[in-house]
């Protein structure tokens, strides 16, 4: 095969997707929200001191044996049902054998050819178009421990002098959700990928089976991408991109991998089937160092565990207990809140539909809930580079702020201060309001005194206003607001200032 260096094809994304059709696939790992681990009674709590949530089982000590957490099975069935899967009448765990220091037994208990849930689907909407993403399987496994790489510049494995292993995470129940190959998305492949992960995350959250925090690693995504020239029906060679740790990265990773592969194919090159790693900083994927040997996991049925055969009436019971899922809730919210399709789509894109719905459920008005999540909270999330729903504030807390404003107890400015306080300290709204003395000052004599002081301090502005330039009063309002630390009601201050200056509108 000749590799041509001389050809200069247009590698802009728009051009690339006119020539190639992408096929994507996603493998999503989700840590389940059980209180104890998959196969032992150690706590799953995040952030504990290293190696304090470990026991003979999750440390892989000689002689220790696993016992399956019933809740993890139930949660997996919930997920399978929500993703329209069939629940296996009988399935087994299998051992996946490979050596790695974060894996205590040097095999992972997983499921191989007999997963618990198979053959489902999830519909996502992108630009008004519905795409059905097929679900190949949902299977159970255990998480690994965590390596910290010491020495070297980057804290990455490459160049490190040695590594330190903490097994607190080892054995936390993990499920893997594998899609079927997704075709026919054309240029929207990155958006469909992101919409799928977003929808999946919202479903998992509504099911109450995981805290789905991508930044804490409780939801992790691997993205498979391949290209074939338009008109060619066979798929190209696929790559698997790991380390995709935010919704935004899902989209970026697919986009950059499409461009990278197109550049190779354009030059007559071949795509190497490999694992690549997404780089948050550059938005590109980097090749993993290739292994000397092809991986041979030597799967076989886990002899320390017995088969799982969920009783049909148990499955029916779980199905009956499923909550309203995001798609249904969206339809309901759309009509209840009187949203336009565009409004709803904007909220979906911002990933706040669930949050808005829950905020309304907690007593806020729909408009205010929407404004807060799409406005101030979205800005805060943006500046922290997290999703709005990952902010340390709950819909109930947002609703409380909205109610305080509605009752006239907080101004908008004060309400933002209250939100800032919650975000900073994690305390409750009322605690922040009390602690920081956030309250609208409605005592007229106090405001009048502040107005007089502002007038005295800014004689030239006062003269302008007296001279008829009423708009200039804004500067005085600002001074009063500053003096009262934002606790005054701005329209009231304006009235008092105009009154003191003897001017009417």
């Amino acid at each position: 095969m000749t590799v041509r260096d001389d050809v200069q094809l247009d590698l802009s994304y728009d051009s690339v997707v006119r020539r190639f059709a992408p096929v994507i696939g996603l493998e999503t790992h989700v840590e389940l929200g059980t209180v104890s681990k998959m196969f032992c009674g150690c706590s799953t709590e995040f952030g504990a001191e290293p190696n304090t949530h470990t026991c003979p089982v999750c440390l892989g000590l000689p002689g220790a044996l696993p016992v399956v957490n019933a809740k993890a099975i139930e949660y997996t069935i919930r997920i399978g049902l929500a993703l329209n899967c069939s629940i296996a009448e009988w399935c087994r765990f299998a051992r996946k054998n490979y050596f790695y220091p974060d894996m205590p037994k040097n095999f992972q208990i997983s499921q191989y050819d007999e997963p618990l849930c198979v053959d489902g689907h999830l519909d996502v909407v992108v630009e008004g178009q519905t795409y059905r993403v097929g679900i190949e399987r949902v299977h159970m496994e255990e998480d690994t421990g965590k390596n910290t790489h010491v020495g070297g510049a980057t804290g990455r494995i490459h160049g490190a002098e040695y590594s330190l292993v903490d097994f607190n995470r080892a054995g936390i129940p993990l499920i893997e959700i594998v899609t079927k190959p997704v075709e026919g998305t054309g240029p929207l492949a990155p958006e469909v990928a992101k919409a799928y992960v977003t929808e999946l995350r919202d479903i998992l959250r509504s099911l109450g089976v995981s805290d789905v925090k991508m930044e804490q690693g409780s939801l992790r995504c691997d993205v498979n991408t391949s290209l074939s020239p338009i008109g060619v029906s066979e798929w190209g060679t696929r790559t698997e991109t790991k380390n995709v740790n935010s919704l935004r990265s899902v989209e970026r990773a697919v986009r950059s991998e499409i461009i990278r592969q197109a550049a190779i194919l354009d030059r007559g090159g071949k795509i190497k089937q490999e694992t690549r790693h997404f780089q948050e900083t550059t938005g590109e994927t980097r090749s993993g160092r290739s292994k000397e040997e092809a991986t041979d996991y030597r799967y076989f049925p886990e002899p320390d565990l017995v088969p799982v055969a969920p009783a049909r009436d148990w499955v029916a019971e779980i199905r009956a207990s499923l909550p309203e899922l995001p798609a249904a809730r969206r339809t309901r919210l759309k009509s209840e809140l009187g949203l336009s399709t565009e409004d709803l789509q904007q909220m979906v894109n911002a990933g706040v539909v669930e949050a808005v719905g829950e905020t309304v459920q907690a007593g806020a008005s729909a408009t205010e809930a929407r404004n807060w999540w799409m406005g101030y909270l979205a800005e805060q999330a943006n500046s922290r580079e997290v999703e709005p729903t990952s902010l340390p504030i709950t819909p109930a807390q947002v609703a409380r702020v909205i109610l305080l404003v509605a009752d006239g107890k907080l101004s908008t400015a004060l309400a933002r201060q209250a939100v800032d306080g919650v975000l900073q300290t994690g305390k409750d709204v009322d605690a922040i309001v009390a602690e920081r003395g956030l309250a609208v000052v409605s005592d007229t004599s106090e405001l009048t005194r502040a107005a007089d002081e502002a007038i005295a301090a800014n004689p030239d502005v006062a003269d302008k206003v007296r001279g008829g330039k009423v708009a200039a009063v804004g500067a005085l309002v600002g001074a009063v607001m500053k003096a009262t630390r934002g606790q005054a009601d701005a329209p009231a201050v304006r009235q008092i200032l105009l009154q003191q200056l003897g001017v009417s509108e």
């Binding site: 104890s36 470990t54 016992v67 292994k291």
Partner: protein, 103 residues
């Protein structure tokens, strides 16, 4: 006996040792290549039992759905966890430089 299996070569034994993380010596490669071949020859007759329709047995007494409740039980004291470790730093297990990629 229906041992139609190709003989196990020295290279194949070296590959198995690599998969199993055993830094076998050259002498061992020679010894094991011969011995493994004899053993695999002896067990190859397992293929004589035509058993396409026979279900496999994994456990003598068939059990299913053995679960534990999702309840937190005490973990080991950390000093016990780390007591047997060849190397420890910052309450973690210290290991030499890892060459392979993260899985």
């Amino acid at each position: 006996m229906s041992d139609e299996r190709p003989t196990l070569t020295r290279d194949e034994v070296a590959h198995l040792a690599q998969l199993a993380r055993l830094a076998v010596t050259d002498d061992e490669l020679d010894l094991f290549a011969g011995q493994l071949d004899v053993i695999l020859g002896a067990v190859a007759r397992i293929g004589d039992v035509a058993a396409a329709d026979i279900p496999p047995t994994s456990h003598a007494v068939p059990l299913q759905n053995v679960f534990r409740a999702d309840e937190v039980r005490p973990s080991l004291p950390r000093e016990d966890v780390l007591a047997g470790a060849p190397a420890v730093e910052d309450s973690r297990f210290r290991v030499p430089q890892i060459l392979g990629e993260e899985e």
